[in-house]
Symmetry: C2
Subunit: 213 residues, 2 copies
């Protein structure tokens, strides 16, 4: 099937949303937790990406007109802190419904029966139910002119990770803690490790066969 840009434009809004949200492949599944004096906020994000390891930085995309996520941004600007928490198989439903647009005087922690956790004086709530959690300090908001979205960037200050999913070399086994992935707007996938390959050196490239011939 071939969609041209005209075909894509002509799709009804819902079908276009589903298609384009899913087209980049699998996406990370995280809950972002924030704090302000008027309450906490928790929201699901599928756009958290690795930006660099030294300093250790992550970013995520924020839409311009998203009311619920605006609370997240206001809170982050307020105290400069947010947490990123891996969604695992047992809390998919609870995590998904943090995306509902609710009044900002209600916390999604309460609404979705997830538990706020404060660790080592970090000024934003972690999700106690999550096994892998990251505390980040807000660093930069980068505006993307072409569509009015922004990338919110944080530097990693704390990592909490179960010992059984990380080895001596720092490799993480996402499947051992049942971290999931997101497809499109609302599909959830489990992960199964297939292989780990060595660092690709010029002189060690295998002789591949072209599989189409």
């Amino acid at each position: 099937m071939h969609f041209t840009s005209k075909n894509i434009n002509d799709l009804n809004r819902i079908k276009r949303l589903n298609l384009i949200n899913g087209i980049s492949g699998i996406k990370s599944a995280n809950l972002i937790g924030t704090y302000s004096k008027s309450g906490t906020n928790l929201s699901i994000f599928s756009s958290v990406v690795h930006l660099g390891s030294d300093p250790a930085m992550l970013g995520f995309i924020m839409r311009p007109n998203s009311e619920i996520r605006r609370d997240t941004l206001e809170n982050i600007k307020g105290n400069g802190a947010f947490t990123v928490n891996h969604i695992h198989e047992s809390i998919i439903d609870q995590a998904h419904y943090t995306s509902a647009k609710i009044d900002s005087n209600i916390s999604e922690f309460e609404l979705c029966s997830l538990t706020e956790e404060y660790l080592n004086d970090f000024p934003a709530p972690y999700v106690k139910e999550c096994q892998l959690k990251i505390g980040l300090q807000f660093v930069e908001k980068v505006d993307i002119k072409s569509n009015g979205t922004s990338m919110i960037i944080g530097e990693i200050k704390d990592i909490y990770i179960p010992e059984e999913c990380i080895d001596d070399k720092g490799y993480i086994r996402l499947d051992r803690i049942f971290t999931v992935g997101i497809g499109g707007l609302n599909s959830y996938y489990s992960l199964k490790r297939i292989t780990s390959l060595p660092y690709a050196r010029k002189d060690e490239i295998p002789k591949f066969k072209n599989k189409l011939m």
Copy 2:
């Protein structure tokens, strides 16, 4: 296990790279193809993200000192076009080795025995072995000051997708075309769909039980 920012800084370089590259969760697995008069270029990226559906836009992160990927950027700036191609289970090894640093007069297509495919006059090569392929027009390069990386942004012009993995509503089934995900720098995961949940409306939130109590 708890890593503070001091612990992270004190890790040896390789362990820090592995840990921080894997910490955001599962990542998309794509090959980006580009063209210039002096040759084609193909490189694996785990940072392709959805930026918006109207207009349909994707972005990916480019490191400052990456020689091989600089070819990709030069080519994109040259003719304004690039392709994003989903990596599936049968071509993981070939895709992985496109990350080797090789002389820029050799094409990774040839090196890794993958096949250039030109469709509907689009001025960048698709990967014939891939089932889901996207042609994008370069729109914007956004610089991230805090660590010198950039986000390269493109607007989707063409989508090629097998009929069996997309339904009437535009939902994509990544598992039906064996699209994989990347963990860290070099681990590959297969995907299995667990569930798809409805759009989260305020009045339809289930009564969840707190699982820790």
